[in-house]
């Protein structure tokens, strides 16, 4: 046994590291979706926004040499997608879920179209903060290489949780989501609130995409997102529209994604198809658990078209 061999401890460590590495896109998309749904609308198009954000972030990082500009560009492009969704949905008799699916296809298609010239080049990556310098184990050091976006996401989750509870803005968004007539009676434009919530939600999802292409796995390719944007939507329901729980759920999904490779790396090689499917199985169980007829969706915004 060499000094760096940590044997079976590799599995929990890999899950911990995976939770940090893989969770960030989940976190940003689910926070964006949480904000949108709190205002009473569902944006299923965030998968498309995520992919387009990944492409535009990578492209801008490559063209300008600054990954942070790439993150900003990804966010702004996400805002546009959010704004389109928000605008179309305020037209009469428009179904937000159908528009979301259309936006998802539109976003991925557009990203593939514009992304062609950026598959080959290598864009500068986002830096990471090394918090593992105290440890002699390279595994722990690499697990604690944390991207600033992860920390931003964590702070954002807390801030959103606090803002929903304690600020006027949070109250307006929650009110719009729970009862449009109440918001109207108070003199707020329901459409405007939802438009802004969807736009800002799109910004978050775009930033999540930039993390995929600019940090981990760290390259733009057309197969980059394996449904992370869609899983994040399920995650919002799982976390009962609570930003803090979104953070926890994102970590859980990240860890679940790391199980498959980690178990194989310590020699548990049987049944890896099952372990690789862990995040998807988790989604399925969450869906089953959350539709129980006895526990109605607590915390669900009353105006959401799925709960209406």
């Amino acid at each position: 046994m060499s000094g760096t061999d940590i044997g079976f401890w590799g599995v929990p460590l890999a899950m911990f590291a995976g939770a940090i590495r893989v969770s960030t896109p989940f976190l940003f998309v689910s926070l964006g979706e949480c904000l949108t749904e709190k205002s009473g609308r569902i944006n299923l198009g965030l998968e498309g926004t995520l992919v387009f954000g990944a492409m535009s972030g990578y492209a801008v990082s490559y063209l300008t040499g600054s990954p942070w500009l790439g993150v900003l560009a990804a966010g702004i492009s996400g805002m546009f997608f959010g704004a389109i969704h928000g605008y179309i949905c305020k037209l009469p008799k428009v179904n937000d879920i159908a528009i979301g699916i259309a936006m998802m296809l539109f976003g991925t298609g557009l990203a593939f179209f514009f992304g062609k010239p950026f598959i080959q080049p290598q864009a500068p990556h986002l830096p990471s903060i090394n918090l593992g310098g105290w440890s002699d184990y390279p595994q722990i050091q690499s697990a604690l290489e944390i991207n600033p976006l992860f920390l931003v996401g964590a702070v954002l989750a807390v801030a959103m949780w606090w803002a929903f509870k304690n600020t006027r803005w949070g109250l307006i968004i929650r009110m719009t989501g729970d009862s449009a007539p109440a918001a109207l009676a108070m003199g707020y434009s329901v459409d405007l609130v939802r438009f802004l919530a969807t736009t800002v939600g799109g910004f978050f999802a775009g930033v999540g995409g930039a993390f995929l292409s600019l940090y981990y796995p760290g390259a733009w390719s057309e197969g980059l997102s394996s449904g992370q944007g869609l899983m994040a939507v399920a995650l919002v329901i799982f976390s009962r529209w609570n930003p803090l729980l979104c953070f926890g759920a994102a970590l859980l999904f990240g860890a679940a994604g790391a199980i498959g490779p980690a178990l194989q790396s310590v020699g548990i090689t049987q049944g890896y198809y099952f372990f690789n499917a862990a995040p998807y199985l988790l989604t399925l169980f969450i869906m089953i658990a959350s539709v129980s007829p006895k526990r109605s969706l607590k915390g669900a915004p009353g105006e959401l078209s799925i709960t209406k």
């Binding site: 590799g10 179209f113 796995p217 760290g218 390719s221 057309e222 994604g257 194989q264 020699g267």
Partner: protein
Amino acid sequence: MSAFTLNRRTLLKSAAIGSLGLTTGLLTQRSAFAADLTIGIIYVGSRDDYGWNQAHAVAAKALAAVPGVKVVEEENVPETVAVSKTMESMVELDGAGLIFATSFGYYSPFMVDAAKKYPDVQFRHAAPLWTDKDPKNAGSYFGYLDQAHYIDGIAAGLSTKSNKLGFVAAKPISSVLSNINSFTIGARKVNPNATVQVIFTGDWSMPVREAEATNALIDAGCDVITCHVDSPKTVIQNAEAKGVKSCGHNASQADLAPKGFITGAEYKWETIYKQYADTLTKGGELPNFLSGGYDLDFVQNTPYGAGATPEAIKAADAAKVEMKAKVPVFVGPLKDNTGKEVIPAGTSHAPYDPWIDQINFLVEGVTGSIT
């Protein structure tokens, strides 16, 4: 998702097919002119994926430089009825006389049906699937990449310090398993202490999981990483970022890892494509089944990178000479990684032995399981 991308050729086709209706019959009757050949190449992904598609695209580029040959390409064609439409439009609109369908799932029923529909056009598919029952204007071509992975293994076995090599693999099918096995046999031939740890991701293109697998292998102590996935970009980039060495797959990834790249197993489709074009422009007949390895120049290794040690280069160069002389890789006695003997002492399997296409085990020295 690519099914929904706006596709210029399909769009053109649907617009033009109506007006072409009457002339279609005439067009299909047209025979290829002796010195003027249009070749259509269809990719399942993007042409510059640092992997399988790029290997074909590099060859397409070389082919386009041949006088009298025109190349038309289409990327991101899913393995669905979409490929039928693409082939149809390549024949009808571009007048293609030879079509290369480069993805596994294009073959049946899509390419077989197209070959029946257009008997004057030659169709070739990049996997050993053609049988006597299929149309005579269809066929298969294939390169035995396991020979190049064997060279990779030899170079990796002499470039490792921890004696632990990592292999990120997509699916446990025979072509992947024979690459893992050849890599392992090569590594252990020059370094009996070397072991290979394999992680299956379960699919051909899963960037996040490939990155996780790479990290897990590195955390487990592997200091050389190689892979068999569609696009090795993620694996090689992550290995380089973590400061470990890497061996490539499919196409050249040397520029992704300036510090740690050892060498890589590459296809050289160019040889096959040029051979086909040459035969057709001279009016000859194409073989239905064409496969080969190092001896026919169908596979090659990427030029050595900074990660290759001098001993590794020396041993790998010697092994290349052996491969060109068709020296067998699979020599008995050989056990699989559960201890069962798979090749008895005294027997060996030469390159191109159908036995190699049927491999369903991992050799001794591999940590991993195919179920």
